[in-house]
């Protein structure tokens, strides 16, 4: 396969060179960092590929497995930059620019400790972020509506988890470490207990499965939810209810055979409610809880006993409290009932309007989007 790899690597080098020429040169300034990142990363990949062709250590038979793995990594990386980063640069337009101004304004308003992400209306699914590119993707017309916009704050949380070296994110990571340790302790105890009980082997397997899910994704998801709760307040919990009413399934789902990426929806909502309690939103908390109970009831979802073992209340409460320390420790502006910042106010008012004046809501929303845009323009002027 040595000759195949020589040829295939050379082909990939030509592809990378062509991609470099596809990075537009006249872009709005909001996209300059993304363009620079794509260019730098493509150059790095090309350096790796050239090494795979030229390095004498790469020619020996014994090193072919490593060479193949390095080649495959380069293919995946190049795919990533071609289909996401460079694609976003090629569609940058006025709507994207407006969204970027809004994101910048939000980052300033909440004292976000990192560079705000570049935003694009390129998402083919829901909101998502690529921390490696610092690129936030929203669906095409999402910025024309307010009720889901609080989800944008959750995505910002992923950037904090991704940034492991900047001292400004240290409190966040310390809180994550403490929460991880407490969950690992709980699950290790449960596993020991299960071992002593000599019950069905499935239960030990489930516990191991949950441990992996907590470590791999659930804890980070909850921290990102809490970042949103602590910076945009009740609007995020409402947005979550809205999302789950539209797209949710079993609200108490607990993985048994196959790991899941997100914690059960009910556990997420509980953590958000604990977060709102910590920050004093007692009135809103009770409204959200009431609506959540209604949604649970009409959805027909019911918790199995495993649910309570997988997501014990004490753990959820402690995650909410540790995340509060981590997020406030970074110096972020924490949302409390007295918060009056402009974007915070519009996003929370949107939900009050939605519930209290549903008939007038569309008109109110249109006017508020214009207000948001003018806030973004203000950001540009300062």
């Amino acid at each position: 396969m040595n000759d195949y790899l020589q040829g295939a690597i050379s082909e990939l080098i030509r592809r990378g060179e062509l991609l470099l020429t596809k990075i537009p040169t006249s872009l709005p300034r909001e996209f300059h960092v993304l363009a620079h990142t794509c260019r730098q990363e493509l150059s790095r990949i090309l350096d790796v590929l050239e090494g795979l062709v030229d390095d004498p250590n790469m020619q020996g038979q014994a090193s072919q497995p490593e060479r193949l793995r390095k080649f495959r990594r380069a293919v995946r990386d190049m795919d990533f930059f071609e289909t996401i980063g460079i694609a976003a640069l090629n569609r940058a337009n006025e709507d994207d620019r407006q969204l970027n101004l809004l994101v910048e304004r939000i980052a300033n308003e909440i004292g976000f400790p990192l560079l705000p992400p570049v935003a694009t209306l390129l998402s083919q699914g829901y909101f998502h972020i690529y921390p490696r590119l610092n690129l936030l993707c929203l669906p095409l017309v999402e910025a024309a509506f307010l009720l889901h916009l609080p989800d944008l704050y959750h995505e910002l949380g992923h950037l904090l988890e991704f940034e492991r070296h900047d001292p400004r994110t240290k409190p966040f990571h310390q809180a994550l470490d403490r929460a991880s340790s407490s969950i690992a302790g709980y699950l290790a105890d449960e596993l020991k207990l299960e071992g002593r009980r000599r019950g069905p082997a499935e239960f030990s397997f489930y516990l191991q499965q949950w441990w992996r899910c907590w470590a791999e994704s659930w804890l980070v998801e909850l921290f990102c939810d809490l970042f949103a709760v602590y910076t945009v307040g009740p609007a995020f919990a409402w947005a979550n209810l809205h999302l789950l009413a539209k797209r949710g399934a079993d609200l108490f789902a607990v993985p048994t055979l196959v790991p899941s990426t997100h914690p059960a929806d009910d556990a997420r909502m509980k953590v958000m409610l604990y977060g709102l309690k910590v920050t004093g939103f007692n009135h809103e908390l009770s409204d959200i809880e009431h609506r959540w109970d209604e949604l649970v009831s009409i959805s027909g979802s019911k918790p199995e006993p495993e649910y309570f073992r997988c997501f014990p209340d004490d753990i959820l409460r402690s995650v909410a409290s540790l995340a509060f320390d981590g997020i406030s420790g970074m110096g972020c502006r924490m949302a409390v009932p007295a918060t009056k910042d402009p974007i915070y106010t519009i996003l929370n008012e949107a939900w009050a309007q939605f519930w209290n004046h549903p008939d007038e809501y569309p008109e109110w929303e249109g006017a508020s989007i214009s207000r948001l845009r003018s806030l973004g323009a203000l950001e540009l002027a300062t």
Binding site: E66, D177, C224
Partner: protein, 120 residues
């Protein structure tokens, strides 16, 4: 709310370690690796952190949980890390490192697939 955000961080973490393991393997196979090498040292430290004694290190715990379900035979990662810091024969450390490299490769593919799956 998305798998992309969740998994691109994890992918980067695994990719970094996969790159490191492959680089050390290449120099071990070429006979040019020494315990004092920077990369070998970095890999040894990473392997020594993969222990349930380090519960307060979220990143290491995450990797440990993934490898627990991926690598057959459950090598003792901290022992392998210590072997890399000593003058242990290459022939002894290469097979478990190869197994680790394959697992990290599989997991990168797995994470990429999930990253591109449904978002929410």
């Amino acid at each position: 709310m998305s798998d992309a955000g969740l998994y691109s961080g994890l992918y980067e973490q695994i990719r970094g370690y996969a790159e490191l393991v492959d680089d050390v393997l290449i120099s071990l196979k070429a006979g040019t690796s020494h315990p004092a090498d920077n990369e070998r040292h970095k890999l040894a430290e990473f392997l020594m952190s993969l222990s349930s004694d380090h519960r307060d290190n979220f990143a290491a715990q995450r990797l440990l949980m993934i490898l627990r379900t991926k690598v057959s035979g459950q090598p003792r990662w901290p022992d392998l890390g210590r072997a890399l810091l000593s003058e242990t024969e290459s022939a002894q450390v290469i097979p478990p490192l190869e197994s680790l490299a394959r697992s990290l490769e599989d997991e990168q593919v797995n994470v990429t697939t999930r990253m591109r799956g449904a978002t929410r």
